[in-house]
């Protein structure tokens, strides 16, 4: 590499600057067609473009562009991380949202422009790293570069005066000293050239190659991975097939046969809340969520008891089951005016605050003679506000209460348009209790039942259960991702912390000279030269003559 003629300028950077040129050639190297023809041919243009793409400057700009391109994803809600946020954004900004969506601002990390930047970055990386592997391979097996003529031009330099007799054994001593220091050496009659720190470049290459491996593993993993969600009430069983999920996000190459067959029953869900009479500031904070489950795998007749907690999923081949949420599921039964059961079962109430005031919706399309819907609140520990409204004052179920408002009318379930089970479109419905109706909302404690207004029938709060939100995930390439990440970090540390350095010891007319040159940053360059000079200088030898001119700003050491 064209390092020696550049090394005279300040510090060590010019040596590194050579890296931006295609490896092994100086930056101003002219190839074939470029000089012969006034205009570049297709091949010439191709080469020029390739040269630009793989240059250090391009890599640098692409890195910064990728950093900038990632920002919008933290400002706008993303479909991948926060799909509900996207829906809300569309409702609140109906004019701008479709425009932003066109620009893929709700899918930043899979957008064409974000992908374009990182793909270019990786092309640049590969184009830069592959030739460097070859160069490094040769460097590892080649002897260290020959000693330059003028050592005093090196960033670290020391000249020592020495009598003729004592010079005779000096090079041998230098050889063994440098060998002991882990240097590879090459010697001629007048000098020893030594180099160490090859692992620095090895680490650098390992880091970059590992990033390519990481990207491939993430890509393949993403294609074959899946993530499914299921809300499971105590006592209920989930069977692992597509029909068993409430929502499911497969990778593009996912196949249903990937789902390992098992059944999972939620036996019990318990939450431990903090409570302290003397300190109210932390009361009601959950200390632990625990799901006792029974897992039955294919071929088993009896299941295995197991526990899922936050941070502690159950891992099976092909699937891990995580605990991601929880809430209350009051068991409600609705009978119509004729006494027929129109609805019965646990209802999933969604928590609205830290004390688990929860909102639930019951739709009763089969009620005769009229359809109706129920908008309901659940308070695990009901307390009354000054306004007379209920609120939950503690998240555990110490004083459970359900309140209900009834909406009569066409629920729109027969139109074929899918509707959200967790919300009731009250527009067009006739409100019968609560609010401005003047009729008191229905209030039920466990075991209570009440008559519905307008002779619609009765409703009862039979029992209280809890539910857990479970997430079943699998990414087959996850282990590979971790492996490449660990390799990358090892390579990174090697490339930043191992000093790569050349050291020369040369006989001069008046004594000997020691000089060193670092590739990249090397905090110990001066020390190494000074130490080597002292070690090699026989005891009681002549005085050292330092050449301060060649050590601007570093002479202090």
């Amino acid at each position: 590499m064209a390092t020696s003629q550049r090394s005279k300028t300040k510090g060590n950077e010019p040596v590194e600057a050579a890296d931006q040129a295609p490896v092994g050639r100086p930056g101003d190297h002219i190839t074939g067609t470029g000089i012969a023809e006034p205009t570049l041919g297709i091949a010439g243009w191709g080469r020029w473009i390739w040269r630009q793409v793989t240059s250090m400057r391009t890599a640098l700009i692409l890195l910064l562009m990728l950093a900038a391109a990632a920002i919008p994803g933290s400002i706008f809600p993303q479909r991948s991380a926060d799909p509900n946020g996207v829906t809300t954004y569309f409702q609140q900004n109906p004019a701008t949202a479709p425009v932003l969506d066109k620009m893929q601002l709700f899918d930043v990390y899979s957008s064409a422009w974000f992908s374009a930047i990182y793909i270019l970055l990786f092309v640049s990386l590969i184009g830069c790293v592959v030739p460097r592997i070859g160069v490094h391979w040769q460097a590892v097996f080649a002897p260290p570069a020959a000693t330059p003529t003028n050592l005093s031009r090196m960033p670290a330099f020391k000249a020592v005066k020495l009598g003729n007799k004592k010079r005779a054994l000096l090079l041998d001593a230098a050889k063994s000293e440098l060998k002991r220091g882990g240097y590879r050496i090459a010697a001629d009659a007048e000098s020893v050239a030594a180099e160490r720190g090859y692992w620095r470049e090895t680490g650098n290459l390992v880091f970059h190659v590992s990033l390519v491996g990481l990207l491939i593993a993430v890509g393949i993993g993403g294609a074959y991975s899946y993530s499914g969600q299921r809300v499971l009430v105590e006592g209920d069983t989930f069977v692992n097939n597509l029909a068993g999920y409430d929502s499911f996000n497969p990778g593009i190459a996912f196949n249903e046969s990937q789902l390992p067959p098992f059944a999972l029953t939620l036996d019990r869900f318990t939450v431990k809340y903090y409570i302290d009479k003397n300190y109210a500031g932390n009361n009601g904070t959950p200390l632990n969520f625990k799901a006792d489950v029974t897992v039955t795998k294919q071929g088993q007749t009896k299941g295995t008891k197991s526990v899922i907690q936050v941070n502690e999923p159950i891992d099976m081949p092909g699937a891990s089951v995580y605990l991601t949420g929880n809430g209350y599921a009051p068991v409600i039964t609705v009978r119509d005016s004729k006494g027929n059961i129109a609805y019965t079962g646990p209802v999933i109430y969604l928590p609205q605050d830290a004390n688990m005031t929860s909102l639930g919706v019951i739709k009763v399309p089969d009620a005769k003679p009229k359809q109706f819907g129920i908008l309901s609140f659940f308070y695990p520990t009901a307390g009354k506000l000054r306004t007379g409204a209920y609120t939950s004052i503690f998240p555990a179920n110490a004083n459970p209460l359900v309140t209900m408002n009834i909406y009569e009318g066409n629920l729109g379930l027969d139109s074929g348009i899918p509707s959200n089970v967790f919300s009731l479109a009250v527009h067009g419905l006739n409100q019968l209790t609560g609010g401005k109706t003047g009729v008191k909302s229905i209030e039920l404690k466990v075991g209570d039942s009440a008559k519905l207004p307008d002779n619609l029938g009765t409703v009862s709060f039979d029992s209280l259960r809890r539910y857990a939100s479970l997430d079943v995930d699998y990414n087959p390439a996850q282990g590979w991702v971790l492996l490449f990440a660990l390799l990358a970090i090892t390579g990174l540390m090697m490339s930043l912390l191992i000093p790569r350095r050349r050291v020369w010891v040369k006989l001069s007319e008046t004594g000997f000279e020691v000089a060193a040159l670092a590739r990249g940053d090397d905090p110990r360059l001066e020390t190494v030269v000074a130490k080597l000079a002292t070690t090699l200088k026989p005891k009681k030898a002549a005085k050292t003559a330092e050449n301060d001119e060649t050590m601007p700003e570093k002479g202090k050491e």
Binding site: M56, I75, N311, A485, L492, L496, L497
Partner: protein, 310 residues
């Protein structure tokens, strides 16, 4: 029954240690500023007084750190766990770590003592914000945080931030020293007495090459620690949030910061990008860290909502 005993009174009492440390840092900031002004004086007699001020300033920082340690340890005892689970705790702990890194480093390498003035000013400000705006009553951890990864992931981030903080101070000094309006001032500015003093103060800082080099050495340690933070976070996220990477806002900004510093490392090796431009990247990188910690924590939606503030 709870397994943890919270003690708000102890937290409030040991917070006095934080207040005391702020007083010490503020005085240290004042003395170290005076030191710079004196050392930059044209009069030999005034210059002679400077080293004493510097020594006093450094010792005040050390004493301040001891009081701050009382506050940090006290908070840890009061909550019965590591004191870095919300913004208040993270700020008091991370600034203490930055101060300790500085205190040790300045014994090893005297040249970085000038950072003391920037650091004491920054820490006083940060602690002031933490105690007035970000203080939250002692709380137990949400279940997702009750994990040994909290120790690894967050402590790596804290120490990494400490290194980035000191490196950023070096790069700011570099940019001031090499700024065109400083090196080639307009005639009107050049004659100004205050500007002259400012220039003499800058002359006290280490040379440009040394500033750049020291900043780089702190930054590479920062980058390695930040990479470990990211990796540890991903491993933890796989256990706690069922995926190792999901572009949560905090993950996005950790990625952005990593990219900026990756850009910085490449800039150091690119012709025309070392020197000023790399120094700017260091400043931008640290600004992104501050942004990630303040704006992202307080105003962005995401899974890393641990400020404890409403």
């Amino acid at each position: 029954m709870n397994g943890v005993v919270l003690n708000e009174n102890l937290s409030r009492f040991t917070e006095l240690g934080i207040y005391a440390s702020m007083a010490f840092y503020a005085v240290a900031f004042f003395l170290l500023s005076m030191n710079l002004a004196r050392a930059a004086s044209e009069k030999a007699l005034v210059r002679k007084q400077a080293p004493k001020l510097e020594t006093a300033g450094i010792w005040l920082i050390v004493v301040g750190a001891l009081f701050q340690a009382i506050g940090v340890v006290g908070r840890g005892v009061a909550v019965g766990r590591v004191p870095w689970a919300n913004m208040y705790e993270f700020t008091i702990t991370s600034t203490l770590v930055a101060v300790v890194i500085f205190a040790i480093a300045q014994f090893v390498k005297k040249e970085i003592r000038f950072v003391g003035v920037l650091l004491s000013g920054f820490v006083t400000l940060a602690l002031g914000i933490a105690t007035t705006l970000w203080y939250v009553q002692v709380k137990t951890l949400m279940p997702a945080l009750q994990n040994y990864w909290l120790y690894i992931h967050v402590s790596l981030a804290i120490v990494g931030t400490g290194f980035f903080n000191i490196a950023a101070a070096m790069s700011i000094a570099y940019l001031l020293k090499s700024a065109k309006w400083v090196t080639e001032p307009k005639p009107a500015l050049a004659g100004n007495a205050l500007f002259k003093l400012f220039k003499r103060i800058l002359d006290l800082f280490p040379g440009l090459e040394q500033l750049e080099q020291t900043s780089y050495r702190f930054n590479i340690i920062g980058v390695i620690l930040w990479t470990f933070t990211l990796l540890a976070g991903a491993v933890w996220a796989e256990r706690a949030w069922h995926r190792f990477w999901g572009w949560d806002t905090k993950e996005v900004w950790t990625f952005i910061i990593w990219m900026i510093y990756a850009g910085y490392l490449h800039a150091k090796a690119t012709r025309g990008w070392s020197g000023k431009r790399s120094a700017w990247l260091v400043v931008v990188g640290f600004a992104a860290i501050i942004f990630n910690f303040t704006i992202v924590n307080l105003f962005f939606k995401g899974l890393h909502v641990y400020s404890g503030l409403k």
